[in-house]
Symmetry: C2
Subunit: 243 residues, 2 copies
């Protein structure tokens, strides 16, 4: 007896995606009612991350903050990995509305600025493993960017590449600034260290790097320079795209 005439049960999305897409897990089953909502769990996790960074988010601490046992969380989430996916979705909630302007540069700049704000608000967003957008909010951001680029001179096959370039730029630019900032606050950035390293740099013959060190370009970035640096790279990319 073959299986062919038994109608294929509609294959479900993997649970990870199902949850991210907000689909009910086991609709209408009965028994003890859950004491938590998935949303409050994710919100709590985001709160922990906002306060102490991604390093302070663990299932143990999360459960603790929710007054539950660690294991109880596995009723709501399949794994730590899925929690991360949901955290990403949380930070990307309410993607910007599709722009209606004809000025694709302005629309793209607006998009990039909005995404950058998400990173600034939830710096841990940069710590989540980059994944191909397949979840609703991530796709919402992609949709908005595609809309912005629609009036650009780009040929169709280049639009996704340009979108990837822009999305990646916002991300890595934020990371660079964040880590550079962390370094500046770090004891290692003491003038002392720079003075210690300088002769080593000279010894290696890195004269261009030495010049940068000498010019103090490695020190004390301010918010103003942060914004200017962000704009700089974005502008170059826009010009490059415009061809």
């Amino acid at each position: 007896m073959t299986q062919t005439d038994a109608p294929e049960p509609p294959r479900l999305l993997p649970p990870q995606l199902r949850r991210a897409w907000g689909m009910p897990q086991q609709p209408g089953k009965r028994g003890r009612r859950p004491s938590l909502e998935l949303e409050t769990i994710v919100a709590q996790a985001a709160g922990l991350a906002d306060t102490g960074g991604m390093a302070s988010v663990s299932l143990v601490r999360l459960a603790d903050a929710l007054n539950v046992t660690t294991n109880a969380l596995y009723r709501y989430v399949d794994s730590r990995e899925e929690l991360d996916v949901l955290l990403r979705e949380y930070a990307l909630a309410d993607p910007p509305l599709t722009a209606t302007t004809d000025d694709w540069r302005a629309a793209t700049r607006e998009w990039a600025g909005a995404l950058r704000e998400r990173y600034l608000r939830h710096p841990w967003l940069a710590d989540l493993t980059l994944t191909v957008p397949i979840t609703p909010n991530a796709l919402g951001w992609l949709e908005a960017l595609l809309a912005a680029l629609e009036s650009s001179p780009l040929p169709a096959p280049d639009i996704l590449r340009a979108a990837t370039l822009l999305d990646g730029y916002v991300r890595f630019q934020f990371i660079t600034q964040r880590d550079l900032g962390a370094w500046t606050e770090h004891p290692l950035s003491d003038r002392d260290v720079v003075e210690q390293v300088a002769p080593l740099i000279d010894a290696r013959g890195y004269r261009r790097v030495a010049a940068l060190f000498g010019a103090g370009q490695y020190q004390e970035p301010t918010i103003a320079t942060h914004d200017a640096d962000f704009e700089y790279g974005l502008e170059r990319i826009l010009r490059g795209i415009a061809g």
Copy 2:
């Protein structure tokens, strides 16, 4: 009694940097001779990472592979964090020689290609936390890029920003391709899933994303398209920089 007339002992670099710069730790002290070399430890760690990814590198497994106790490693390395710094240096060993050409675009392309090869050879390089270059090999790469950009039309204050842009581009471009590739091999990329997600995308009104899905642009990137995608973004950046 003040401390002022006691000559300040020459402040040493933090041990982390000292080791990365190859300076002897406690020169000439005597006692039991070390059974390991720092270099073999780092090489072994890199080997583990090459084989099983960054996730398979732990002090426990590393010590095991070296036939030592975990704690013994602390004679050579201050912390796991320092091991990561040294791993980065390992992957960036022998930075490219400073280019002598006048063609800054060609030189920059060459630089970017060389860095990309490092990522391809040691994919875990992308998993290490990005830090401000203060170690010899990282600075060597920066020096080479600054040299390449020297004949460009960039004003001096923009050179470091352009360098950051290029360095970041190679990194995030690699990450994007790697993760997209991992996703394509992943069961989630089944045609089934795409078919499952498609109606959800429609329901959200993401018509541009839906078009991409329909066109199959989300599927099966090849090495050829990888190279082409890399070139695409690099070319845009170069054009943007050239102004």
